[in-house]
Subunit: 107 residues, 2 copies
């Protein structure tokens, strides 16, 4: 049972929900669901990635992600669906939960 791509309006609604009042959250960039995380340092960024990697493997849904030092940029899309699907929002929500306490350490 293939997962369906969401429409742009569905995507924007869900982005609003997942971001809440956060202004630096997920955004629709080049037809992918993108968020850039800035952690305190490499070890913290890596801690985020290590947790997210296990969740991604468990969900069998993997991110495209780029890391340099304390920055992690994530791009989510569902190749099987030819677009952004609920699976991307599932992974995005999991990543938010993982990142939250790590980002808080920064302040």
């Amino acid at each position: 049972m293939a997962v369906k791509a969401l429409t742009e309006s569905e995507i924007r609604d869900r982005i609003g929900i997942i971001n809440g009042s956060r202004t630096d959250g997920w955004a629709l960039v080049n037809a992918k669901l993108q968020r850039t995380f800035q952690f305190q340092d490499f070890v913290t960024a890596w801690g985020f990635m290590a947790q997210a990697a296990i969740v991604a493997e468990k969900l069998d849904h993997h991110p495209e992600w780029f890391n340099v030092y304390r920055t992690v940029r994530v791009d989510l899309t569902t190749h099987d669906a030819g677009g952004i699907s609920v699976r991307d929002f599932e992974l995005a929500a999991a990543m938010n939960l993982i990142a939250e306490p790590l980002l808080r350490e920064e302040s």
Copy 2:
């Protein structure tokens, strides 16, 4: 004591040495030392990254890297030197050693 950027000719010499007979090894791409690793699956790619992350932190020299599923693309440069330095080749050599047994599993 700042590390010095290598000249293009020094970089090409060192690339030749580090690659040996390998044709899919490191290359000079956009003024960075780049190699793309293709592992068997995400777990193997992640295993490579996890080992390389610890080495990078220990060397206090971090890669720019991109991962999607079983592919890891690494770009090395030394910001302090304004170019590619011996530190990039040190990390590149360490990454080769880490990747070797993981890539062999594929065949």
